[in-house]
C-alpha cells in the first residue's frame, strides 16, 4: 500500500490545534525533541520502511525552493 496523501482525518483543524498546543510552552530544543518523539512513535506504528522512505522523500522535497 503506497503512502496515503488523500484527506483521511475527520477533523484536520483539531490535529493542527493539538500540535500547536503541544508545542506552545516549549523552547526550541524541547520542541525538537517533541517532534522527534512523535515521528519515532508514528514511524513504529506505521511499521513499513517503504512507506516511511516515501514519506521522508516527500517531506524532503517539501522544503525545496
Amino acid at each position: 500500500m503506497p503512502l496515503q496523501t488523500e484527506p483521511r482525518l475527520a477533523d484536520p483543524d483539531a490535529l493542527y490545534e493539538a500540535l500547536m498546543q503541544a508545542h506552545r510552552e516549549l523552547d526550541e530544543a524541547r520542541s525538537r525533541r517533541l517532534d522527534a518523539r512523535l515521528v519515532l512513535l508514528l514511524a513504529n506504528h506505521i511499521g513499513d520502511m517503504d512507506i516511511l522512505r516515501e514519506a521522508l522523500a516527500l517531506a524532503t522535497q517539501g522544503d525545496k525552493p
Binding site: A29, R32, R33, D35, A36, R37, L40, L41, N44
Partner: protein, 540 residues
C-alpha cells in the same frame, strides 16, 4: 609498567642471515606481533605452516587496549587451544545497561539462551592475550618470533616481497613468498605499497582511564548518555580482571589531549563518575593507564595484493564502540589461515585467496557500517541529530521499539558470508556462509560441545544428521549427529543442534575449516559432496 601488570621482555635472537650478503628466504612472513599477527602465526602453525614474525618492539601491548573478546573470537581461540585461559582469567559478561541523564533507560542481554561453550563476551586486557599467544606460538616450534626487528622497506614483486629488516645488531634482507601484513592501523607495509586507506574521521575525542579499585559494580557493560557527572557527553564502564576498570569518557572535539591526560584531571573525572554512578563516596583507586584518542572508520580497497595480504587494523579500522576492531581482525585470521595453508599444500590455487578479499571486505563493511552508526548516535552532528538521539533515549524507558534504536555500540557478531564464491547454492536451513552455531552434545555419555568437533583437525567437516552418506570423499571428516545414544556419534540430547542448525534427518552440511557453512546437502551422493568440497576450495 602498570600497577597490576609487568610487560615481559622477549629476547632478540641474532638471525643467521645477519651479515650475510644473500637474502634469507621464508615462505611466510608476518609483519606485526600484535593480537592479529600472533593469532595468524598460531593458526598457520597448527596447520603445519611455519612462519617468521617480525616486530619492532620486544614486548606485548602496553595498556589494556582491546578488552572485549566476543563469542566468535573465543570460539576461534577455543580451536587454537586458548579458550579455557580466556574463560578462566577473563571477566565473563553478556548483560549491559544504558542510562540517560539520571535514570536507567533499559538493560539488555546479548546471550539470553544457555547451551553455548563460550559467553557473549569476555573482558581481558590485550597484553594477557598476547602473552598467551606468544607462549602458544613458541610451543609449536614453527613460529620464528623476531623481536626488535623493524621492517624498514618492502619491495613487492610477483614472487612475494623482499623485506629490509633493521635490528640492534645490524640489517639484513629476507625474501618472503608470502607477506601477511598484520602491522596495525599505521601499517608500514601499507605505506610501502602506497595503498590509499580511505574513510571517515570523527570529530570527537575520548579519554580512556583504566583504574584499579575494589568496587562492586556488576560484570556488565554500563553506558551513560549525558549523565549528571559528565554532562552533555557519554561514559562507558567495563570490568576487567585484576580489579581493573575501564572507563571511557567522551570529551568532545575541542578537548585538549595534553590537558585531559593530566592525572589530577583524570582522577577528578573518575571520582565524579564513581560517586555519580553509585551515589556513594568513591572507593580508593589508582590510575593504571590513561590514553586520549580519536578514531576513524576506513579500509583498504582490497586486502589482497598478490602475495601481500592485509589482516586486522592494517586493512580496516573502526570506532571502538561495538568491539569490532580486534574481533574483526581475529576473524580475518580465521578466514585466511586455512586458505593459505591449502594453497601452500598445493590443494588449492592461489586464486582461492581472492575469496578472502571478497568475504572479509563484506565483513569489514558490515563492521564499518555498524560502528559508524553507533558513532553517529553517540556523537550527534547537529541539533536535529541531538534531538532524535535524546528522543530515542526518552522513549526507551517505556517502549520496547525505542530500545532497539538506542545505539551505544552494536556489539561484534560474526559475519555471515553472504554471496560467498565458495558456497554451493541450494538447500535450506541455516544461511550459507553462516558461522557454525554451538550446542551441547553427549559423546559416549560425556558432556561436550559441538564446535569442538568442527575443524579441530584442520579439515573440512561433513555434519551428518541421522546418517553418514555411504561414501564421503577424502579430505573431509564426517561427524554424525543423532537424536539417540549411538557409538561414535554426537548425541544431540537436548535437540539444540537440530534446532539451531535448522536441520532435518538426512541433512549433510559441509563446513569449511573455519566453521563457516559451505553447502547444505541432503542424503548426498559422493559426487555431490566432492563438488561442494571442490567449490569451497575455489577449484570450480
Amino acid at each position: 609498567m602498570t600497577a597490576t601488570h609487568q610487560n615481559p621482555r622477549y629476547a632478540f635472537r641474532r638471525p643467521a642471515a645477519l651479515g650475510s650478503a644473500m637474502p634469507e628466504h621464508a615462505r611466510v612472513v608476518i609483519a606485526g606481533a600484535g593480537v592479529v599477527g600472533l593469532t595468524m602465526a598460531l593458526d598457520l602453525a597448527r596447520r603445519g605452516v611455519a612462519s617468521v614474525v617480525v616486530d619492532e618492539d620486544d614486548t606485548v601491548s602496553f595498556g589494556s587496549r582491546a578488552i572485549c573478546w566476543a563469542k566468535r573470537t573465543l570460539e576461534i581461540y577455543g580451536r587454537l587451544g586458548l579458550g579455557k585461559r580466556f574463560l578462566e582469567k577473563g571477566v565473563t559478561w553478556s548483560r549491559g545497561r544504558v542510562f540517560f541523564q539520571d535514570q536507567e533507560a533499559y538493560g539488555f542481554d546479548l546471550l539470553p539462551e544457555q547451551g553455548h561453550e563460550y559467553p557473549a563476551f569476555v573482558n581481558l586486557q590485550q597484553y594477557y592475550a598476547e602473552e598467551w599467544l606468544v607462549q602458544a606460538c613458541e610451543a609449536t616450534g614453527l613460529v620464528d618470533l623476531r623481536w626488535k626487528t623493524r621492517l624498514a622497506g618492502v619491495q613487492h614483486n610477483a614472487h612475494g616481497a623482499l623485506l629490509h629488516l633493521t635490528t640492534p645488531e645490524g640489517d639484513y634482507t629476507l625474501n618472503a613468498d608470502w607477506l601477511l601484513a598484520c602491522d596495525g592501523a599505521r601499517s608500514t607495509v601499507r605505506e610501502a605499497l602506497a595503498l590509499p586507506f580511505l574513510g571517515q574521521v570523527f570529530r570527537d575525542r575520548f579519554l580512556i582511564a583504566d583504574v584499579v579499585m575494589h568496587a562492586d559494580f556488576p560484570s556488565e557493560r554500563w553506558f551513560w548518555f549525558d549523565p549528571p557527572f559528565h554532562p552533555g557527553q557519554s561514559v562507558l564502564l567495563h570490568k576487567q580482571p585484576d580489579d581493573v576498570w575501564r572507563i571511557d569518557f567522551q570529551l568532545g572535539w575541542d578537548a585538549d589531549p595534553a590537558v585531559e591526560k593530566q592525572p589530577e584531571r583524570v582522577v577528578a573525572r573518575v571520582r565524579a563518575m564513581l560517586e555519580g554512578a553509585s551515589g556513594l563516596a568513591a572507593p580508593p583507586f589508582e590510575l593504571e593507564w590513561v590514553s586520549v584518542y580519536t578514531f576513524r572508520c576506513r579500509r583498504l580497497e582490497r586486502f589482497r595484493h598478490g602475495r601481500v595480504i592485509f589482516a586486522g587494523d592494517s586493512a580496516h579500522q573502526v570506532s571502538p564502540f561495538g568491539a569490532r576492531g580486534g574481533n574483526g581482525g581475529v576473524q580475518d585470521v580465521d578466514n585466511l589461515g586455512w586458505k593459505l595453508a591449502a594453497v601452500l599444500a598445493g590443494e588449492a590455487a592461489e586464486s582461492l585467496l581472492d575469496s578472502y578479499d571478497a568475504e572479509r571486505i563484506l565483513a569489514a563493511d558490515e563492521n564499518i557500517l555498524n560502528s559508524t552508526r553507533s558513532t553517529d548516535f553517540i556523537t550527534p552532528k547537529n541539533g536535529a541529530a541531538h534531538a532524535y538521539r535524546d528522543a530515542v533515549l526518552q522513549l526507551a524507558r517505556g517502549h520496547g521499539f525505542a530500545r532497539q534504536m538506542v545505539n551505544s555500540g552494536r556489539l561484534s557478531r560474526p559475519a555471515t558470508l553472504h554471496g560467498s564464491p565458495l558456497a554451493t547454492p541450494g538447500g535450506e536451513g541455516l544461511p550459507l556462509g553462516a558461522p557454525a552455531p554451538d550446542a551441547p552434545v553427549l559423546v559416549a555419555g560425556r558432556a561436550d560441545w559441538l564446535l569442538r568437533h568442527i575443524g579441530a583437525d584442520g579439515r573440512f567437516t561433513l555434519l551428518c544428521f541421522g546418517a553418514v552418506p555411504a561414501e564421503v570423499p577424502g579430505g573431509i571428516t564426517s561427524v554424525l549427529v543423532t537424536d539417540d545414544d549411538r557409538p561414535g556419534a554426537l548425541w544431540d540430547h537436548a535437540g539444540l543442534v537440530a534446532r539451531r542448525w535448522q536441520a532435518r534427518p538426512g541433512d549433510a552440511l559441509l563446513l569449511r575449516p573455519d566453521q563457516h557453512l559451505a553447502a547444505r546437502l541432503h542424503a548426498p551422493e559422493a559426487a555431490e559432496i566432492a563438488a561442494a568440497h571442490r567449490r569451497a576450495l575455489g577449484l570450480i
